[in-house]
């Protein structure tokens, strides 16, 4: 499948934290010819293995499968409901369509002529409600169920793709593209693709990844803030210039150099993302999991994160997938995988 096809397929699925199974089922099905075995670990993460020669070093690619959501909190008479939206900017919500299990609703608020003048969303989601347009509360989503942005996934111009949930389905797509590209090849390493649960509610799943299998190196994929006119940060990575290689305490220098030199050798564009502290990704926890995991960060620039209109560059997703495949093919010298991964530093 092409990058656009993967993006379309994966963003048409709805998977809030704890509801990732629908993504896993699709990945198991679509990638069936491209992995040797699959397992689901104790946390619920999906692991797909591409076995290398016996004793081969283990290279982990990981991305989270969940997405942000609204959560139904209380039913009100007349087909209305209150909700919580912990990771979402309430300014996006008035007059937005949401959906849950095929039911559509509109996020409503008091009409302007009944509001305090000039005051919009004063108390965040407390001022808002979902209007299911029905007189009966029967068949409405239950309390505690997630509600999703109903944004239709679509291409913008030649190279951009817009959808809800591209955080982090864009990264899932890149890993899927890499596995497809590597299909049938003999690799010098064992590749483990891990799709994790509950990143958006506290980076839950990734911490379990090294239980019972200590990867020799990991590449954590996520999306990162892309440059956009709504944000006054001039140094954010630009969409369309390749995935961003993280540099900072979360990544041993040898690892980010490996990513950059591999990209250069293959003619794959990439950019740098300076991360002087917590990377805000699964990688921050993974690095200190178990006996420690040499962790690299590879991020796809994305605008309007956690909004109904997340946008990525299609080229970035495709080139990110090619870079992962190139990493899996690159000869793995013994010193690189040295004692406890220390050679990476």
């Amino acid at each position: 499948m092409t990058a656009v096809e993967w993006l379309e397929r994966l963003t048409s699925l709805r998977a809030a934290s704890g509801h990732e199974e629908v993504v896993f089922a699709e990945l198991r099905r679509l990638l069936a010819p491209s992995y040797d075995r699959s397992e689901t670990d104790a946390a619920g993460n999906l692991l797909l293995w591409r076995d290398g020669p016996p004793g081969a070093p283990r290279l982990l690619f990981t991305a989270h499968a969940d997405q942000v959501a609204l959560w139904l909190r209380e039913h009100l008479p007349g087909g209305f409901a209150r909700f919580a939206a912990p990771a979402i900017d309430p300014v996006c919500l008035p007059a937005l369509e949401v959906e849950a299990k095929g039911r559509h609703g509109v996020v409503g608020m008091l009409p302007p002529h009944l509001r305090e003048r000039g005051v919009e969303v004063k108390e965040g989601e407390k001022d808002l409600y979902i209007d299911f347009g029905t007189e009966s509360a029967l068949d409405l989503p239950a309390i505690g169920e997630p509600l999703y942005f109903a944004t239709p996934p679509r291409q913008l111009g030649d190279d951009r793709f817009c959808a809800a949930g591209l955080d982090d389905r864009a990264s899932v797509a890149a890993i899927a593209l890499a596995l497809e590209e590597l299909r049938g090849e003999d690799l010098p390493v064992t590749v483990l693709a891990a799709f994790t649960v509950q990143e958006e509610t506290g980076r839950g799943g990734a911490a379990f990844l090294c239980r019972g299998m200590q990867p020799d190196a990991a590449v954590v994929l996520d999306v990162t803030f892309g440059r956009q006119p709504e944000v006054a940060e001039p140094d954010l990575p630009l969409l369309g210039e390749g995935a961003a290689v993280g540099i900072g305490p979360n990544v041993p220098p040898g690892l980010h150099r490996w990513l950059e030199s591999t990209a250069a050798a293959e003619g794959i564009p990439c950019q740098r993302e300076p991360l002087p502290g917590d990377s805000g990704t699964d990688g921050w926890r993974l690095q200190v999991a178990g006996l420690g995991v040499p962790t690299a960060l590879l991020s796809i620039p994305l605008t309007s994160m956690h909004s109904p209109q997340e946008v990525v560059s299609i080229r970035d997703v495709a080139s990110c997938g090619r870079l992962l495949a190139a990493l899996a093919r690159s000869p793995w010298s013994s010193n690189r995988a040295g004692e406890g991964g220390a050679a990476w530093s």
Binding site: D89, E97, V121, Y129, G133, T134, L156, C162, Q228, L238
Partner: protein
């Protein structure tokens, strides 16, 4: 003609061509005249050889949207409201740009950048449309300054069939009602003006009225419903309670004889109807009133009016059709102004 098709047609004030073509394609064949005036209003008439009173139905074709007003160096479109769209409902929405309908997305800073201060509504200066252009030149050629932008909102009916959501119920609901009335043979002269530029100041109707010079005028509209959880009880027009009849708004006072006849028609048709609660807003009945015509308005209650997605009760729409039909059947009984 399906309401869905009418709502999905795209046309901001002064850009009603697509809607007009669609309405024209749906007109019955037994009309006396079909003309487009110099403003772009579509004027149709039937039953002109009958005795009066002559009745003019007004329904506007234009919808609220946005306009491209500039381009950023990185290829985003700058925008302003085209009609009364508050900037508070625009962030994070899907749009279609230009007559060709290029897909676009209205961005929003990641919530990580403004935790705790995200509640202030953005201004249009803070809102941009991404159409996938990488630079200003590409953006300019794809979407020049002045292009219309409409909301990309699908038409959906609730599973119980009671309500529908879409953009542009204001005033495609009125257009639908007017087309329904044109399907019947009447024993009085009936005129319908499918008007332009209502949303920027009741402009098309002013010209249409001078051309038609009817005895009675009815504006067919969508009006704001305020029957939602935080609204003070009793203050708002409610969806599901039938079409709303206006007594007074900011543009006019409804003609008493017409008002009374409309209420009587609702009773006779056995459908629910309500007085429009609230005296704000205005519609084309006001344009008629200012020219000295006897006028009134029949409105379909609509939640989230002028937002990217609105919600109406389909039962209200049906009730409005029944009420109007009964009213027109008995139009000779409308009491004079004495």
């Amino acid at each position: 003609m399906e309401l869905k098709e009418l709502c999905l047609a795209r046309g901001t004030s002064g850009r009603e061509e697509q809607v007009r073509d669609l309405v024209r394609s749906a007109l019955p064949s037994d009309l006396d005249s079909v003309t487009v005036d110099r403003m772009g209003n579509l004027l149709v008439a039937k039953g002109q050889d009958h005795a009066g009173p002559s009745v003019l139905l007004l329904a506007h074709m234009d919808e609220v949207g946005l306009m491209v007003t500039g381009h950023t160096p990185d290829g985003r479109l700058r925008i302003r409201a085209w009609g009364g769209v508050p900037p508070s409902v625009v962030a994070g929405k899907s749009v279609l740009v230009g007559a060709a309908g290029l897909p676009g997305a209205i961005g929003r800073p990641p919530n990580h950048f403004h935790r705790g201060e995200g509640q202030a509504a953005p201004k249009y200066d803070d809102l941009y449309v991404d159409i996938g252009a990488a630079d200003a030149k590409t953006a300019q050629s794809l979407a020049p300054v002045g292009e219309m932008i409409t909301f990309a909102t699908p038409y959906r009916v609730s599973p119980d069939g009671g309500s529908a959501t879409c953009k542009a119920f204001d005033d495609r609901a009125g257009v639908w009602l007017a087309l329904e009335m044109l399907r019947h043979a009447w024993d009085f002269p009936l005129h319908v003006a499918f008007t332009v530029q209502e949303e920027v100041g009741l402009r098309g109707a002013q010209v249409a009225l001078r051309a038609v010079r009817p005895d009675l005028v009815l504006a067919l509209e969508a009006t704001a419903a305020a029957d939602t959880p935080d609204a003070p009880p009793g203050r708002g027009t409610r969806i599901g309670d039938g079409p709303a009849l206006t007594t007074l708004d900011r543009s006019s006072r409804a003609d008493e004889g017409l008002r009374e006849a409309l209420a009587r028609a609702g009773e006779a048709a056995g459908v629910p109807w309500q007085w429009r609660r609230g005296i704000g807003g205005g519609n084309e009945a006001g344009a008629a009133w200012l020219q000295g015509y006897r006028s009134a308005a029949v409105s379909v209650p609509c939640r989230y009016l002028h937002a990217p997605v609105s919600l109406i009760s389909l039962r209200d729409l049906e009730a409005a059709r029944s009420l109007l039909q009964r009213f027109l059947e008995n139009v000779r009984e409308v009491r004079g102004h004495d």
